[in-house]
């Protein structure tokens, strides 16, 4: 079996991550799928269609986790993911490559305010599924109708669906109706206090935050890899996470080998913005970073990080991260690996010795060009005529 992998797509300021387990189960965390009409945008959709599994020709993701509803975390959901009754998935849907979300993870709290079409689509699809479960529809447990409620309720009451719920402090090891032995997720947030939070950044502070935990064998005591995902969560959230996790003696849930820097390497993880007015990082945020393990890496899923006014990404935030993990272990999706001007995803494989870059792929002595070649798709002029 192939090793589990974690892939961070280069999507500018935004998040799109793909976790692939040894049994090929796939988990997509957020999406920011932009149009690929310029030459320097990585084609996330194409890669997803190559990475996901198919059932009767239908591409599907086992679990979609939307950390929160900001545009840069759900862009393209409406266009690229299938919404509606799974049995109505049509041949033309197949042609368009609409991805079926077998199980969606849905936080009622993040869906309070509607700000964009993609979020609306996510919310609408979640409500469609919830009503199937509520009415005990016989099709409710089919792939494409499954749903998991994360955290607490907002204005709508889903108490009758508590069996579908996972709360902060819970460890989830069942994904898309299958139990996993080597993989689990520890849920940190959103918690109740978020309900009372106010202000413009409410959506950000109510992000789902979780720790993805990988093992290589069922009998190993420690984890092979720990990856932290936190959407756009800010320093106050992390302060509460730290406090609660320690209180319930769950320190293991704070450790990490991979830390997806919240809010695209924003200063908000370290302190309030603007950074100039709050230049000192909070101790709690620094303490979170101290739970890193050997050779841990911080991923900045953002634009190229420059020392300028255009924030996030904050140059100062990067400096704080680099202080903790060294420059070599701070990886920016836009600059990590560029091929033909196009940034490539950051990928790590899970081995029993921790994360490691994937193997280089061998070529062969025989070769033929494909239809996608630039040469093929542009005119080539020859001849000795005058210019």
């Amino acid at each position: 079996m192939a090793n589990a992998t974690i892939k961070y797509y280069p999507v500018g300021n935004g998040d799109t991550s793909l976790i692939t387990l040894e049994d090929k189960t796939t988990i997509v965390v957020d999406c920011n799928i932009r149009n690929c009409d310029n030459d320097e945008t990585y084609d996330v959709k194409k890669d997803l269609l190559q990475s996901l599994q198919y059932s009767n020709g239908i591409p599907y993701v086992d679990v979609f986790i939307l950390t929160h509803g900001d545009q840069d975390h759900c862009r393209g959901f409406k266009k690229h993911f299938y919404q509606g009754a799974p049995e109505k998935y049509s041949e033309s849907d197949k042609k368009e490559g609409l991805i079926r979300v077998d199980t969606m993870w849905f936080s009622p709290m993040i869906a309070e305010e509607h700000t964009n079409d993609d979020e609306d689509a996510y919310q609408k699809e979640a409500e469609r599924r919830l009503s199937l479960h509520r009415s005990k529809d016989p099709k409710k447990d089919n792939a494409g109708n499954r749903i998991k409620i994360i955290g607490y309720d907002g204005s709508t009451d889903y108490k009758d669906l508590d069996h579908l719920r996972a709360k902060p402090g819970d460890i989830v090891d069942r994904f898309n109706d299958r139990n996993q032995v080597l993989f689990s997720i520890f849920i940190h947030a959103p918690f109740k206090e978020h309900l009372e939070a106010l202000g413009d950044d409410k959506k950000n502070s109510t992000s789902i935050v979780f720790q993805a935990r990988f093992k290589k064998t069922s009998y190993q005591q420690d984890f092979s890899t720990l990856a932290m995902f936190g959407g756009d969560s800010d320093h106050t959230s992390w302060c509460i996470i730290l406090e609660k996790t320690k209180k319930y003696k769950n320190e293991h849930a704070l450790k990490w080998d991979l830390f997806l820097s919240p809010h695209h390497c924003s200063w908000s993880f370290f302190n309030d913005r603007p950074q100039e007015e709050n230049p000192d990082p909070k101790d709690t945020s620094l303490e979170v970073l101290n739970y890193r393990r050997n050779n841990a890496k911080v991923i900045a899923s953002s634009k190229k990080i420059l020392n300028d006014e255009d924030n996030p990404p904050h140059y100062e935030a990067k400096r704080e991260y680099v202080k903790k993990v060294t420059d070599g272990n701070f990886l920016n999706t836009t600059t990590y690996n560029i091929v033909n001007k196009i940034p490539q995803p950051i990928v790590f494989e899970v081995t029993s010795q921790g994360i490691v870059k994937p193997k280089h792929v061998e070529g062969s002595a025989k070769v033929a060009g494909g239809a996608g070649l630039g040469i093929v798709n542009t005119t080539s002029k020859y001849g000795n005529g005058e210019v």
């Binding site: 050997n294 081995t351 010795q353 490691v356 280089h360 792929v361 062969s364 025989k366």
Partner: protein, 759 residues
């Protein structure tokens, strides 16, 4: 850091091999610098380079000292590159070689080489470039660092050795019983003796396991070996026996390290034994005291060492190191080996087992627990039998009365040495030699004993009954045999001058039966041009117009047919048979393998599914059976209903077989337009009937034609009327004068059913 390459001299000659020049250029590009070209000796150059490795975040597996940059040496064969792939060695003298699998054992004081492909490196490299090899070595080292080098994580990778001087064949599990269960006599503490044989002087040195020496067989074995030694050396029956020695370590001495220095001399051997806590002194005393026990100066020695976990591909943690000693009388003084005698390595080969053969064939699912019987071990039969046997299915009974003649060798799997031998017996002997250490359960004979074939219990122990006799007589016999109702029956043969292979597979409960399938195939000629042409060819070449050559009798030296055509059919039939054996289909099947021997030689296949036939016994003579192709009875019933109170009728086409007392109905022709039916009478007309029958007859090459008639009795009775009997009498007059005569077959259809009569 001290590197091995520092000890190599610069290569000063010109490199003429353009492929090497090319690859060196690529290496320079990869390294971003010029590379050093050193002399490896033996017409090889050594290129030291540095490989980058991505190491895992939490530290290397077992804290192995693998670094982000590893120096290695690429060694190119100046003459044979790139057909001969580069060898790659570590360039670090302190490389953690003892802790890594997939390294070759070091020789000649050189560092160990990476075993970077599972199979043959030259084959792998045939489709790779030097850049790919660099990637592969980097991935190899990455795997070493992550602990993924052994693909089966829980198990221990056995040593990779090279530079063998010969091979030794024994079953690992059998030898393991000597070590683990004391299955042999211990001549010393953890020291036993096993008898080996060298099958021939040809090829490379090979020792084959015969048996371990136990206290029960010691005397007879010694006697047996002595007797062979007494024989004249030129005697072809003389067997060359060797006593081989097995030494092993204590159970609690477990070594994890890959000992990459296998002893190459007596002195090294002693150190090796001490390291693994193996007591060699009793062994030394034995071979020096009884130095004459072995006739030859070379003899095998097997050392069993214990690994921390089960070895990949084997059943325990004991790894056997196979050595060959060379000891002459001048090496021995006073129960001691006084010279530093040389030691070679032998490669171990597992003898082939049926299970392994099935596994290698990808046919593990097919069970060998029930016996199959095969009639006919000729050209087709012998090839199909070998296909079965080579895939581990040897639970067979082979029957053939014939003996191998020289001309048989053109198309038979057997060889010249078998001329004069019974085909079935010779095949069985060959198959037993494939699995020398197993009971193949194969049985062979010239025939079943008299009468046995018809007895009820004969076939009870069999699953499949396979007919490759190419005998029409046997085909008829098998078709009507009553005691194989619970067996699966297949018959395969060749027709159309060797170009058409036909295989019939009966349906569940023998319906459709072999002869049903044959008739069905003939009936397809009406609509299938290929079948029509084949049957017409057969008719044109036949002397009597009702004999189809269902098989080409290979007994005739004049039969012109190449071995490759037989093989083509046999391989198709075998493929079909293996499929059916692993998952039997319920319906009858006809498989055709057609060779089109025209300008472009082509092969195409066709499969027909055949539904069960409807069966009736003749009302007046129960010896005769009437078998209808599916659909005909329904058609008759429909016509009966449409005609209502009026009688109606028609004509049957098919074939009648006196040998099997069967009339096969393949079609029914509706009453011609000039027929007249009333409530009491049916006059079957004739307009166009002759043309219609002639067309059917022609298309089937005379295999199918008129066989009888039917009419209805809407109000009964269920028997023939007086009028009917008169027609029968009239028909009988004509039919009995035919050559061959045709029985008169008349069926009546009444509200209660179909009532066939045969006169």
């Amino acid at each position: 850091m001290e590197k091995f390459s520092d000890s190599l001299p610069l290569f000063t000659n010109d490199i003429e091999n353009p492929e090497i020049q090319d690859s060196l250029k690529s290496l320079c590009q990869l390294q971003g610098d010029q590379v050093k070209i050193l002399d490896w000796g033996n017409s090889r150059i050594a290129i030291p380079i540095e490989i980058n490795i991505d190491l895992p975040s939490l530290g290397n597996f077992d804290d192995l000292d693998i670094r982000e940059k590893e120096p290695v040496i690429f060694v190119f064969d100046l003459i044979n590159y790139p057909v001969s792939a580069p060898r790659v060695y570590t360039d670090r003298l302190d490389f953690p070689k003892n802790n890594l699998a997939h390294l070759y054992v070091a020789v000649n004081n050189r560092p160990p080489a990476f075993c970077y492909v599972r199979g043959n490196a030259d084959e792998w490299y045939a489709n790779k470039r030097i850049e790919d090899l660099v990637i592969r070595i980097s991935n190899w080292l990455r795997d070493g660092a992550t602990g993924e080098l052994t693909e089966n994580g829980e198990q221990y990778e056995p040593l990779r050795l090279e530079g063998y001087s010969g091979s030794i064949i024994y079953d690992y599990d059998t030898l393991l019983t000597v070590v683990a269960n004391k299955a042999a006599f211990e001549f010393g503490d953890k020291f036993s003796i096993v008898l080996f044989e060298r099958p021939s002087n040809l090829g490379r040195y090979t020792y084959k396991f015969v048996r371990p020496i136990t206290d029960k067989n010691a005397l007879t074995t010694i006697k047996e070996v002595d007797e062979e030694r007494k024989k004249d050396k030129e005697d072809v029956t003389r067997k060359k026996y060797y006593y081989g020695y097995v030494l092993w370590s204590e159970e609690d001495v477990i070594r994890r390290e890959y000992e990459v220095n296998i002893p190459r001399s007596w002195d090294e051997f002693k150190l090796f034994c001490e390291y693994y806590h193996i007591k060699y002194k009793e062994f030394e005393k034995f071979i020096t005291t009884y130095s004459k026990i072995n006739e030859y100066i070379y003899f095998p020695v097997i050392i069993g060492i214990r690994r921390p976990s089960q070895l990949i591909g084997y059943s325990s943690n004991v790894e056997f190191i196979n050595l060959r000693f060379k000891v002459t009388s001048s090496d021995i003084e006073q129960e001691k080996i006084v010279n530093n005698v040389p030691i070679d390595m032998l490669s171990h080969n597992q003898p082939l087992t049926k299970k392994l053969a099935g596994h290698i064939s990808g046919l593990d699912k097919i069970s060998d627990s029930k016996r199959n019987v095969i009639f006919g071990c000729g050209a087709i039969g012998s090839k199909m039998i070998m296909h079965l046997a080579r895939s581990g299915q040897t639970n067979l009974t082979l029957i053939d009365p014939d003996y191998i003649s020289p001309h048989n060798l053109v198309r038979h799997t057997l060889f010249g040495e078998d001329v004069g031998h019974n085909k079935a017996e010779a095949l069985a002997e060959k198959i037993e030699k494939i699995y020398p250490y197993e009971n193949t359960k194969i049985i062979s004979g010239t025939s079943f004993k008299d009468g046995l074939i018809g007895q009820k219990e004969t076939f009870e122990k069999y699953d499949w009954v396979l007919d490759f006799t190419a005998s029409e007589a046997f085909f008829n016999r098998l078709s009507t045999l009553r005691n194989i109702d619970n067996n699966h029956v297949v018959s395969a043969s060749i027709s159309d001058f060797g170009n058409l292979g036909i295989m019939y597979k009966e349906g569940n409960n023998r319906n459709p039966r072999l002869d049903d399938l044959q008739v069905y195939l003939f009936s397809l000629a009406e609509n299938d041009l290929n079948i029509r042409n084949w049957l017409k060819n057969e008719q044109a070449s036949a002397h009597s117009n009702l004999t189809v050559h269902v098989g080409v009798g290979c007994n005739s030296e004049t039969t012109v047919l190449s071995d490759h055509k037989i093989s083509s059919h046999a391989s198709y039939f075998s493929g079909v048979l293996q499929k059916e054996m692993s998952m039997m289909s319920a319906e009858g099947k006809i498989y055709l393998n057609r060779i089109i021997d025209s300008k472009d030689y082509r092969i195409e296949t066709q499969v027909f599914n055949v539904k069960p036939f409807d069966m009736f016994q003749a009302v007046n003579n129960t010896n005769w059976e009437i078998r209808f192709k599916q659909g005909i009875v329904e058609q008759l019933t429909k016509e009966f209903t449409i005609a209502g109170k009026n009688e109606t009728g028609g004509v049957f086409v098919g074939v009648c077989n006196y040998k099997t007392k069967t009339i096969h109905i393949t079609g029914s022709i509706k009453a011609p337009l000039d027929s007249k039916g009333s409530t009491t009478q049916f006059v079957r007309g004739q307009n166009g009937l002759a043309n219609e029958i002639s067309a059917i007859e022609k298309s089937s090459g005379g295999q199918i034609g008129y066989v009888g008639e039917w009419h209805t009795h809407p109000d009964g009775p269920n028997c023939l009327s007086k009028q009917d009997m008169e027609s029968v009498k009239k028909h009988k007059e004509e039919c009995s004068n035919l050559q061959p005569p045709l029985p008169v077959f008349l069926s009546i259809i009444t509200p209660t059913g179909i009532f066939p009569y045969v006169f």
